[in-house]
C-alpha cells in the first residue's frame, strides 16, 4: 500500500480529533480527542518511517506513547479533581482560575 493512504487516514483522524476538541464540551470527550490526535501523529510517524526505511520515526512513536500515558494519568486526575470541586466536567463552566 502506498504512503498516501496512511497519511490521508492520519489527517482524517487528526481532523476528527481537532474538531472534537473544539466543539465538544465534555472534558473526557475532549481528552479522548486529544488522544486521537496523538495517535494520528503516531500513525504518520510509523508510515513515513516504513516508507523511508528508517527506524527513527518508530522510535519517536514509543516516546509519544510514553508521554501520552503520563498525560492520561495527570489529565484524568485533574478531571476527577475538577469534578469533585465543581460537580461538573463541562469546560464552559470551568472558565475561571479562581476556586
Amino acid at each position: 500500500m502506498s504512503l498516501e493512504y496512511y497519511l490521508i487516514l492520519s489527517a482524517l483522524l487528526f481532523t476528527i480529533g481537532v474538531i472534537g476538541v473544539l466543539i465538544r464540551r465534555n472534558a473526557i470527550i475532549i481528552f479522548m480527542c486529544i488522544e486521537l490526535m496523538l495517535n494520528a501523529a503516531n500513525l504518520a510517524f510509523v508510515a513515513i518511517s516504513r516508507s523511508l526505511g528508517q527506524v527513527e520515526g518508530q522510535l519517536f512513536v514509543f516516546f509519544v506513547m510514553a508521554v501520552a500515558a503520563a498525560e492520561v494519568a495527570i489529565g484524568l486526575a485533574i478531571i476527577v479533581s475538577v469534578f469533585k470541586h465543581r460537580e461538573t466536567i463541562n469546560v464552559d463552566e470551568v472558565n475561571s482560575l479562581k476556586g
Binding site: V21, L22, N95, S96
Partner: protein, 635 residues
C-alpha cells in the same frame, strides 16, 4: 609655619562640631561640658592663629602649600591647599579671637536652652567653615567656605525653628544669599576662563599679562571682579541685597554677634581685599566704593527710626560694612581690613551687650520699654558705651582711626568721585553717632519704663557673660591706638603691605591726616550731642508724625517693594506656570496619559481573555492553519 599647625587650627572646630553634633544626646544633661568643648575647640584654633600670626611677620612670601589635589583634570587641577599671609592671619585672629569670647559668652547666654548642644555644634561648624574660607589658597576652597558659612548662618538664624518668624528669616537669608552666590560662581567661571586656574598664586602673578583678555565679549578680569562683587553684595548685605541681615536677628544674640556682625558678613570685604590685584587692574573699585557708601548712608537713615535694639545694631552693621567696601573700593585695602577688625570688636561687643540686656529683660527688644537701665546693669552699660563711642568715632577709640583712614583715602582717590564719597561718608558718620546714642540714651538713661513684673528680677548677667564683655571692651577701645596710629604709616599698614595687591591701590592718602581727624571728631561729637538734646528725656514716639518719618520707620518699604515686584511674581509664576501648568498639566499629563492609554488598550484586549479553553484552541488552530497556508501557497 607648617602644614600641621594649619591643619590643627582648621580641624579643631570640626572636632568640636563632631563631638557636640554626634554625642549631643549624651551631653545634653551636662551643659557645662558641652559648652566647654565648643569653646575649647575654638581656643585651640586661637592659639594656633596666634602662632601663625607671629610666624607670618618678617616672612617675605606668603605661606602657600598644597595638601593634596582635590579635582584633577587633563588641563587643570583644583587643590586643597593653604595660603597664609598677613591678611589671612588678621582674619584668623578676628574669627578665633572674637569667636572664642562669643563661645564663652554663649555658655551663659544659652543656659537652659533645649538645643544647647546643637547650638554649639552649629557654632563650631561655622568657625570651621569660616576658617576654610580664609585659609584656602584658591577661589574654589574659598567658595566651599563661603557656602559653608551660609549654611551655618541659615541653621543658626532658624535655630529656634518652632518660631515661624525665625524659620522665615533663615529662609530669607539663604535665598537672598543664593543670588549673591550665583554671582560668585559666575565670577569663578570667568576667572577660570581667563586663567585656566583658580589658584591665587597663578591668578595674581598672571593677572598683569592677561589684563586685556576678552571673555564673553568684555574684559575678562573686569567681568570677574564685578561678578565676584555680586557675591560680596549678597554675603556682606549691601544694597540691594541687604534685606536678609536685619531679619537675621531672629537668631540667638551671640550668633548675631559672631556671624552677622564680626565674621561672616565681612567675608565679602575679605574676598575683595584678597582679590586686590584683580581690582587694581580692572579698576572696578569705583563700583564697590559707591555701592558701599550708598549702603552706609541708606542703612544709617533706616537705623534712625528703629526701636528694636538688635535691628538698630543690624542696620548699623550694614552701614559699617558699607564703609569697609568704601575702603577696599578706593584701593585702601589695609584701611578696609583695619575697619573690619575694629568693627568686629566693637560690634561684636555691642551685640553681646544687647544680649545681656535681653537676658536681663526677659527677651524684651523694644527700647521704648527700657530706660534707666544703667543703674541696674552697670557693666552692660559701661561696655555698651565703649562700643558706641568706638563706632561713633569718638577721638582715639578704635572706630575713630579706622573710619578716618577710609574717609581720608576716599578723599584722595585718583578717580573723580572720591570727594562725593567722602562727603556722604561724613554724613553717615554723623548719623551713626546719632542713632547709636539715641539707642544708649533711650535704653540706659532717663526714667525706667520697664514693666514692673520684669523690673522685679532685673539683674546683671553672670560672670561667664560679663567677663567676655569686659575683655572685648578693651580692644574695642584700644586696638585703634595700638595698630592705627600714623594713618597710612601705621603698624597695621606695614604689617599688611606685603599682601598681594595692597600696594597697588588707587587710594593714596593725600597730605596730613590731622585735618580729617579733627573733622571726623567734630562730626562724631556733634552727632552724640544732637542725640543728647533730642533723647535725653524723651521716648521715641510710637507713631511717626509725618510722611518722611513714616517712610524711614518702615525702612523705605523695601521689603514690601521686593515682595510685590519680585517675590510675589516669582511665587505666582511658580504656582500657575510651573506648578499648575507645567507640573500638573504637562508632566503629570504625560504620565497619566500613558497610563490611561494602556488602560484603554488593556480594556479592549481583555475581552479576548474569556477563560474558555476552547476559544484559545480555536485561535491557535486558526493561527497554525494560516501559517501553513502562508508557507504552502506564498513562501
Amino acid at each position: 609655619m607648617s602644614n600641621s599647625l594649619i591643619i590643627i587650627l582648621l580641624i579643631s572646630p570640626l572636632v568640636g562640631f563632631l563631638i557636640n553634633g554626634l554625642f549631643g544626646k549624651w551631653l545634653k544633661g551636662n551643659e557645662k561640658l558641652s559648652g566647654t568643648i565648643g569653646a575649647l575647640a575654638v581656643l585651640v584654633s586661637l592659639i594656633c592663629s596666634i602662632i601663625a600670626f607671629v610666624n607670618v611677620q618678617g616672612s617675605e612670601k606668603p605661606f602657600n602649600e598644597v595638601l593634596y589635589s582635590w579635582i584633577a583634570g587633563e588641563s587643570f587641577t583644583f587643590n586643597i591647599g593653604f595660603h597664609v599671609d598677613a591678611l589671612t592671619t588678621v582674619m584668623l585672629l578676628v574669627i578665633t579671637g572674637v569667636g572664642f569670647l562669643i563661645h564663652v559668652y554663649s555658655i551663659g547666654y544659652m543656659h537652659g536652652d533645649a538645643g544647647y548642644t546643637r547650638y554649639f555644634a552649629y557654632l563650631n561648624l561655622f568657625v570651621f567653615a569660616m576658617l576654610i574660607l580664609v585659609l584656602g589658597n584658591n577661589y574654589l576652597m574659598m567658595f566651599v567656605g563661603w557656602e559653608g558659612v551660609g549654611l551655618c548662618s541659615y541653621l543658626l538664624i532658624g535655630f529656634w525653628y518652632e518660631k515661624q518668624s525665625a524659620t522665615d528669616a533663615g529662609k530669607k537669608a539663604f535665598i537672598v544669599n543664593r543670588i549673591g552666590d550665583f554671582g560668585f560662581l559666575l565670577g569663578m567661571f570667568t576667572l577660570f576662563a581667563v586663567f585656566n586656574s583658580l589658584d591665587f598664586s597663578t591668578i595674581f602673578s598672571g593677572a598683569e599679562a592677561k589684563s586685556d583678555e576678552i571673555v564673553f565679549g568684555v574684559n575678562g578680569i573686569m567681568l570677574a571682579t564685578l561678578l565676584l562683587f555680586v557675591g560680596a553684595v549678597g554675603k556682606s548685605a549691601q544694597l540691594p541685597l541687604y534685606v536678609w541681615l536685619p531679619d537675621a536677628m531672629e537668631g540667638p544674640t551671640p550668633v548675631s554677634a559672631l556671624i552677622h556682625a564680626a565674621t561672616m558678613v565681612t567675608a565679602g570685604v575679605y574676598m575683595i581685599a584678597r582679590s586686590a590685584v584683580l581690582y587694581n587692574i580692572a579698576e572696578t573699585g569705583v563700583v564697590v566704593a559707591w555701592i558701599g557708601v550708598l549702603t552706609a548712608l541708606f542703612a544709617a537713615i533706616i537705623a534712625l527710626k528703629q526701636n528694636d535694639i538688635k535691628r538698630i545694631l543690624a542696620y548699623s552693621t550694614v552701614s559699617q560694612l558699607g564703609y569697609m567696601f568704601v575702603g577696599v573700593g578706593v584701593g585702601a585695602y589695609a584701611s578696609g581690613i583695619f575697619h573690619l577688625v575694629t568693627h568686629a570688636f566693637f560690634k561684636g561687643l555691642m551685640f553681646l551687650t544687647a544680649g545681656s540686656v535681653m537676658h536681663a529683660m526677659a527677651n524684651e527688644l523694644d527700647i521704648r520699654k527700657m530706660g534707666g537701665l544703667r543703674n541696674k546693669l552697670p557693666i552692660t552699660h559701661a561696655t555698651f558705651l565703649v562700643g558706641a563711642l568706638a563706632i561713633a568715632g569718638a577721638p582715639f577709640l578704635s572706630g575713630f582711626w579706622s573710619k578716618d583712614e577710609i574717609l581720608h583715602s576716599a578723599w584722595g582717590v585718583t578717580w573723580g568721585s572720591g570727594k562725593a564719597i567722602y562727603i556722604i561718608g561724613l554724613i553717615t558718620a554723623f548719623l551713626t553717632a546719632f542713632y547709636m546714642f539715641r539707642l544708649i540714651f533711650v535704653t540706659f538713661y532717663g526714667k525706667s519704663r520697664v514693666e514692673p513684673e520684669v523690673a522685679s528680677h532685673l539683674h546683671e548677667s553672670p560672670a561667664v557673660m560679663w567677663i567676655p564683655l569686659a575683655i572685648l571692651a578693651i580692644p574695642s577701645a584700644l586696638i585703634g591706638l595700638l595698630l592705627g596710629v600714623g594713618g597710612h604709616n601705621s603698624w597695621f599698614h606695614h604689617f599688611t603691605e606685603k599682601v598681594a595687591g595692597f600696594k597697588g591701590g588707587h587710594g593714596e592718602a593725600l597730605g596730613s591726616p590731622i585735618p580729617f581727624m579733627v573733622i571726623s571728631s567734630v562730626i562724631g561729637i556733634a552727632g552724640i550731642t544732637f542725640a543728647w538734646t533730642r533723647y535725653k528725656n524723651r521716648v521715641p514716639s510710637a507713631e511717626p508724625t509725618n510722611a518722611l518719618q513714616k517712610l524711614v520707620a518702615n525702612k523705605f518699604y523695601i521689603d514690601e517693594l521686593y515682595n510685590t515686584f519680585i517675590v510675589q511674581p516669582i511665587k505666582n509664576a511658580s504656582h500657575f506656570l510651573l506648578w499648575k501648568l507645567f507640573d500638573t498639566g504637562i508632566i503629570d499629563g504625560i504620565v497619566n496619559g500613558v497610563a490611561a492609554l494602556i488602560r484603554v488598550i488593556g480594556g479592549t484586549l481583555r475581552r479576548l481573555q474569556t477563560g474558555l479553553v476552547q476559544v484559545y484552541i480555536v485561535s491557535m488552530v486558526l493561527g497554525i492553519v494560516l501559517f501553513l497556508a502562508y508557507y504552502l501557497f506564498f513562501a
